[in-house]
C-alpha cells in the first residue's frame, strides 16, 4: 500500500471541499444571473406563458417537424401550434434538425419566433470529432508520463524529455 503524499492529500481535500461547495451552491443559489440580451428558455415555457415572452429576445432549442416557404421566408413547424420564421439570408434548416435559435418571440400573436440566428446541433458529430482529440491526448500523455505505483504519482517517462 503506497503512502499518500501530503500534496495529494491536500489536492483530494481541496477537490472534496469544492464538491461540497457545488452541492451547497446548488441548494442555496439555484437561479443564475443572466447577462445575455437573449433569455434562455424552453419552448414549452414560452408556450405556457406566451405573454411573458411576447416581443422579448429569446434563446431556445427546438426540433424541426416540417419546413415550408412563404415568399422569401422559410417557416419551420416545431410544435403543433408553434413555428420558427427564418428570413432567407440566414438560411433554412431541414426537417428533423435540432436547432439552437436566437430570435424574438411572437408566439402569443402569431404562433412564431422570428429567428435572428440559428445553429443546427449535431451531438453525434461533436462526439465523433472529440474522439481523435482524446486518442491524441492519451497517446501524448503516455509518451511523456508514466505512472509510478510506489509514489502513486505520474512521473517523467525515462529518456523522453527534450
Amino acid at each position: 500500500m503506497p503512502r499518500i503524499r501530503p500534496e495529494l492529500k491536500r489536492g483530494i481535500a481541496l477537490l472534496g471541499l469544492f464538491i461540497i461547495l457545488m452541492v451547497s451552491s446548488d441548494l442555496l443559489f439555484p437561479y443564475s444571473i443572466q447577462k445575455s440580451q437573449y433569455i434562455a428558455v424552453s419552448i414549452e415555457d414560452i408556450k405556457a406563458n406566451p405573454s411573458l415572452f411576447e416581443g422579448e429576445s429569446v434563446s431556445t432549442t427546438a426540433t424541426i417537424i416540417s419546413v415550408s416557404s412563404s415568399g422569401s421566408n422559410f417557416i419551420a413547424q416545431i410544435e403543433e401550434d408553434a413555428y420558427l420564421t427564418f428570413q432567407s439570408p440566414i438560411g433554412s434548416p431541414q426537417e428533423g434538425d435540432r436547432v439552437y435559435v436566437r430570435g424574438i418571440s411572437w408566439i402569443q400573436t402569431n404562433d412564431t419566433i422570428i429567428v435572428h440566428e440559428f445553429y443546427v446541433l449535431d451531438y453525434s458529430s461533436s462526439i465523433i470529432r472529440s474522439i481523435p482529440g482524446i486518442i491524441l491526448f492519451i497517446a501524448l500523455f503516455l509518451w511523456v508520463f508514466d505512472f509510478d505505483f510506489k509514489t502513486f504519482a505520474f512521473i517523467e517517462r525515462r529518456g523522453k524529455s527534450a
Binding site: E7, G11, I33, S130, F154
Partner: protein
Amino acid sequence: MPDVLTHLLVGASIAIVYRRNGPRIEQMLIILGAVLIDIERPFSWLLAGTSLEWISLGQAFHSILGAVVLAYFAAACFQINGLDFNSVFKLILIGCISHLLLDMVMYPWAEYGLYLLYPLQLALSFNLLWPDLWWYPILGVTLLLLSLFMSHLLKIYHGS
C-alpha cells in the same frame, strides 16, 4: 464548447510559444490543463444517462475557482524531478485558462452559463460564435502552425 481536439491544439500552441525551449514535460502539462476542464463530461454523460443530470458540475468546473481546484489536484498527481509543485500547478493552470478563454468565445454559453466567477452564477461570454462548429479543429491546426512558425522565427532571432 469546442471539441477536445481544438482545446488540445490551442494548448499545444500556447505550450510551443510559452515554453519554447522548455522540456516536453512542461509543454505536456500545459496541454493537460487545456483539456482538463472538460473532465466532468464523462461524469455528466453518465449522470444524464441515469436522469440525474447535474448541470452545476460543468458550470462549476468551467470557472476560475474550478480551474484552480482542478489544476491543484492535477498538480498533486505528479512528482517530477526538477519541477516543484508550484511550477507544475502554474503550467497546468495556464492550460486551464486557455480552455476557459476559448469557451468564452461562444455565446450560447452566456445564456446557459459560463460562470467564471462561480459560485456567483453570473454568465460571462465574448458572444462571438456558436459552439461546436465543424471548422474549430482547423482553427486549432492554424494556430499550431502559426506558433511553430513563431517559435522558429524566435529561434533564428535569438540564434538558439
